[in-house]
């Protein structure tokens, strides 16, 4: 592999977005830039940002206004579970054709909305604008207004034209739509010890795990946004006393807005790894000093969970100690938790990157990481593969698009994207995470990979 080190180079325009942590490194990592044309970014678009945030609201109608592609690639895309309705697991599209593009799609959108609302009786409808809607100039706000008046349910335009910014702008558009639902419900039975869980999408049932922890502490969870989401719950969210925000990239704008509009303070948390999970519980307990029993219960909960967890991690930690990990995730917050979780397993992080991290995120990463760790913003397959090879990575943590490049190079993989089927959040999630990492890293199949095959070559025919 040594020859590769010389041949894989990073595009000039991208160099400022890659940095190796060193003793006394000062410079900052460039980020929040428009992806370089032709760089093969792993990012998606504005539409994707909106779609993933709102997708888990299970009793709402989600219709994508545009040609069929955007709708079909987001059909049942996330493992966001619902305890009840599953309307969100369908893919509805206006499926614009050539004539619609020429003459406009407003009429078709209206027809489609009325058909769906009359048939499925959703609690609300989200209308996602795709690229060409912005170009052909359909007035989707007007259509939504009229259909809302006709049907009596909220019909909310989501301005998610793919080219109008980045995924983060899509998050903002989704939060705008959510903020129009919040404040419309009855809050009379909301407890003084209540929270909203923001930025938790119930992948593999994770929101249920987190919700259960808070409920064990005696806290009322008014809404989760948006995992296992329901329009009625979201409409009452302004009654909660605290917003607990995970996945800060997607939901901070909503949290700020709720602070301005309703005076609800917010804290940032992460539910990955023992340390961050425990902190997420203690920080919430801290917020309710009038009820010290909440903190007592939090302590008991953490003690119980951790004392069961640590012995189970121990044998895996022994196998994984010293192995090198690379992390490339969508939002940077996950990277912080993953670094801590990997350290608990005595693993070494040699690459940490994200699609949408901000300056503070990367500053925090730089402080957290050991010298020699590469930090990268908005990376692409060439760069990620370069560092897999150069750093001798044993485990890659990423999503669907990163998985095959790891496997091609004989590297174990942990799926930490929205398609995962195994809960990685919460204390039980730490155990699942360790198991997932352990089974991939220690799999016997790697000995046949070319990377390790030299040791096996004696047996080859």
């Amino acid at each position: 592999m040594s020859a590769d080190k010389k041949t894989i180079s990073i595009l000039e325009e991208r160099r400022a977005q890659v940095l190796e942590v060193g003793e006394g490194t000062t410079g900052t990592l460039a980020c929040e830039r428009h992806s370089v044309a032709g760089a093969v970014s792993q990012r998606a678009c504005v539409f994707c940002g909106s779609r993933v945030v709102l997708y888990p609201i299970a009793d709402a109608l989600h219709i994508v206004h545009g040609p069929v592609g955007c709708a079909v690639y987001t059909w049942d895309i996330r493992g966001s579970l619902s305890s009840g309705p599953e309307l969100h697991r369908n893919s509805f599209s206006t499926d614009l054709r050539e004539m619609d593009v020429i003459y406009g799609g407003e009429k078709k959108l209206r027809t489609c909305l009325l058909e769906l609302i009359n048939h499925y009786h959703p609690k609300a409808a989200f209308v996602y604008a795709t690229c060409i809607v912005g170009i052909i100039g359909d007035d989707i706000d007007g259509v939504c207004r009229k259909v809302a008046a006709e049907t009596g349910i909220p019909v909310l335009p989501v301005h998610s034209e793919g080219f109008k910014g980045t995924k983060k702008d899509g998050y903002r558009a989704a939060c705008d739509a959510l903020s129009r639902i919040i404040g419309t419900g009855d809050t009379s039975d909301v407890s003084p010890h209540s929270i909203n869980i923001l930025g938790e999408f119930n992948l593999a049932g994770e929101a249920w795990i987190i919700r259960e922890y808070y409920e064990r502490m005696g806290i009322q969870v008014v809404s989760t946004m948006t995992g296992d989401g329901r329009i009625d719950e979201i409409s009452r969210a302004h009654g909660a006393k605290l917003n607990v925000v995970q996945c800060s990239g997607s939901m901070t704008s909503l949290a700020k807005r709720l602070k301005e509009d309703y005076g609800i303070p917010f804290i940032r948390v992460s539910y990955f790894g023992i340390e961050d999970m425990a902190k997420a519980l203690y920080d919430v307990a801290d917020f309710f000093p009038d009820a010290p029993e909440i903190m007592d219960r939090a302590r008991t909960l953490v003690t119980e969970e951790v004392s069961a967890l640590l012995p189970a991690l121990e044998p895996m930690r022994r196998d994984l100690a010293g192995k090198k990990a690379a992390i490339y995730v969508g939002g940077a917050f996950k990277a912080f938790s993953l670094i801590k979780a990997l350290r608990l397993l005595d693993m070494k992080v040699v690459l940490a990157g994200s699609q949408t991290g901000g300056p503070e995120d990367y500053e925090q990463l730089r402080e957290m990481c050991d010298p020699g760790t590469v930090l990268v913003d908005d990376a692409n397959p060439v760069e990620l593969s370069k560092f897999i090879v150069e750093k001798g990575v044993d485990l890659f943590i990423g999503g669907v698009k990163e998985r095959p490049m790891a496997y091609k190079l004989g590297v174990a993989f942990c799926d930490h994207n929205h398609e995962r089927k195994i809960a990685l959040a919460g204390f039980v999630g730490m155990l699942n995470f360790a198991r997932e990492v352990h089974l991939s890293v220690t799999s016997p199949v790697w000995r046949f990979a070319p990377r390790f095959a030299a040791a096996e070559s004696g047996d080859r025919p």
Binding site: I63, R97, M405, P450
Partner: protein, 452 residues
């Protein structure tokens, strides 16, 4: 034949609910993955390339790099010429491709980008550029992934081939098959002793080997030099009954521009269609069917006899891309299964006429989505469902087993290795279908027979 009741169901909805089709650029990306050292480039938003990559990776389990020009608001207003050129420069630096396949998207088409002339300007500004550039118009609002695929193949035929003195090789324009299918076809031609240029050939790029070093573009694919020689072939074989009904195809372009005789055939799924395919090769080249393929054919006939009672008279819902469902419907009829509902999201309008012409009286539904298909299927009294994995919900709702074929297969392992074509492919399909029916009966039966 469409009954009045079916016609009423087909007319019921304007909205598309769970589409049974993909967008045009995806098909073009698939075609470009079959060219040696080629990189696909989408002129549009970042999301288009990322979604298509993710969708294809989930099926093929291979790295799939697709570049894009990444439109911004500024680009959408002022045009994407600069981004296209920057993007091409960057992929040349990062990937050093031999061929670049440039596609449009609904966005770049709607703002009226003239990609042909932008590419020409780029080529003129980079006289030192070694890569061949192919461009194809693929707006998502026109057609489906099948059109994108065939238009990309047509673009390659038109832009990369030239007439030449007649050689002994054949062109094989095989359509949207699996990597295993393409690998099988190459093996068949090798056994015939006939050189065939397969366009495209993603048998290695999308079902590849592990790497001992980083491969920016995985090895495999039709070499550019081979594509250039397609204009001097002895004949072209172009597969797909629906494709044959299109006004312009790669095979027709090679015929009209380079005088390469064209034979249009169906996808060789099942004995009858494979026989026609092999006979065409024999007629053109004079080569005899190789003994081991004849043996595979005989074993298949033997298996048809052994298994016929399990399938005879069974009723199937078949769906997917038009050419694929057309071939699959013919295969099912060949083994005694009635394809009661043949459905596709494709909208060439050719499927119904083609299946009627080929015999039988299935309900044929084009331009249909999965939920409408489910409404049609409820009264079809079917026994099984045959199609891609997106029909899982349909099969679950109907309580019927799903035999996964074609693209995409996102919920099972080994999609790239699914073999459909040739005697061998028919054998595998037959075995899978028979066993699916037996397993379904066994699971829904209290006795649980231990002999079939």
């Amino acid at each position: 034949m469409t009954t009045p009741a079916a016609a009423e169901i087909l007319d019921r909805w304007t909205v598309t609910r769970n589409a049974c089709k993909l967008c045009t650029p995806l098909g073009a990306c698939l075609a470009f993955k079959g060219i040696e050292h080629c990189l696909a480039f989408l002129h549009g938003s970042q999301g288009c390339s990322t979604y298509i990559r993710r969708y294809m990776i989930s099926h093929f389990k291979e790295p799939i790099d697709i570049a894009c020009s990444n439109f911004s608001e500024h680009t959408a207003v002022f045009g994407g010429g600069v981004e296209l050129h920057t993007g091409l420069d960057n992929i040349v630096r990062q990937y050093a491709p031999t061929v670049i396949g440039i596609m449009t998207t609904c966005l770049s088409e709607t703002i009226g980008e003239d990609v042909g002339s932008l590419v020409k300007t780029y080529r003129e500004a980079r006289p030192e550029l070694a890569a061949a550039l192919v461009h194809v118009s693929t707006p998502s609002y026109r057609g489906t992934h099948a059109e994108g695929f065939h238009d990309a193949v047509l673009a390659m035929a038109e832009q990369l081939t030239e007439p030449g003195s007649r050689g002994h090789h054949l062109n094989l324009l095989a359509g949207m098959l699996s990597p295993a299918d393409l690998r099988y076809l190459k093996e068949l031609f090798a056994d015939f002793g006939v050189e065939a240029i397969l366009l495209p050939d993603y048998s290695d790029t999308l079902d590849g080997v592990p790497w001992d070093r980083y491969e920016a573009i995985p090895p495999g694919g039709t070499p550019l030099a081979a594509i250039r020689r397609m204009g001097s072939a002895q004949a072209s074989l172009e597969l797909g009954h629906i494709l044959a009904g299109r006004e312009r195809t790669a095979g027709k372009s090679l015929r009209d521009r380079c005088d390469v005789p064209l034979r249009s055939l169906g996808l060789p799924i099942g004995i009858a269609e494979t026989d026609r395919f092999c006979r065409a090769i024999q007629e053109i080249t004079g080569a005899a069917l190789p003994a081991r393929h004849e043996a595979e054919r005989q074993r298949l006939i033997d298996a048809y006899a052994d298994g016929h009672k399990y399938v005879s008279g069974k009723r199937a819902v078949v769906f997917g891309e038009e050419d694929f469902v057309c071939a699959m419907a013919l295969f099912l009829r060949e083994i005694g299964i009635i394809p009661v509902l043949v459905a596709s999201g494709g909208r060439t309008g050719l499927l119904e006429a083609k299946l009627a012409e080929l015999g039988g009286d299935s309900t044929v539904a084009g331009d249909v989505d999965f939920l409408t298909m489910a409404d049609l299927a409820k009264s079809a009294n079917a026994d099984l469902v045959v199609g891609n994995s997106k029909g899982y919900k349909l099969s679950k709702e109907l309580g019927l087993p799903l035999v996964r074929v074609g693209f995409p297969v996102h919920d099972r392992f080994g999609a790239a290795r699914l073999l459909h074509v040739g005697y061998r492919g028919a054998q595998q399909l037959f075995d899978r279908i028979v066993n699916t029916i037996i397993a379904h009966a066994q699971e829904s039966d209290e006795i649980g027979y231990t002999y079939i």
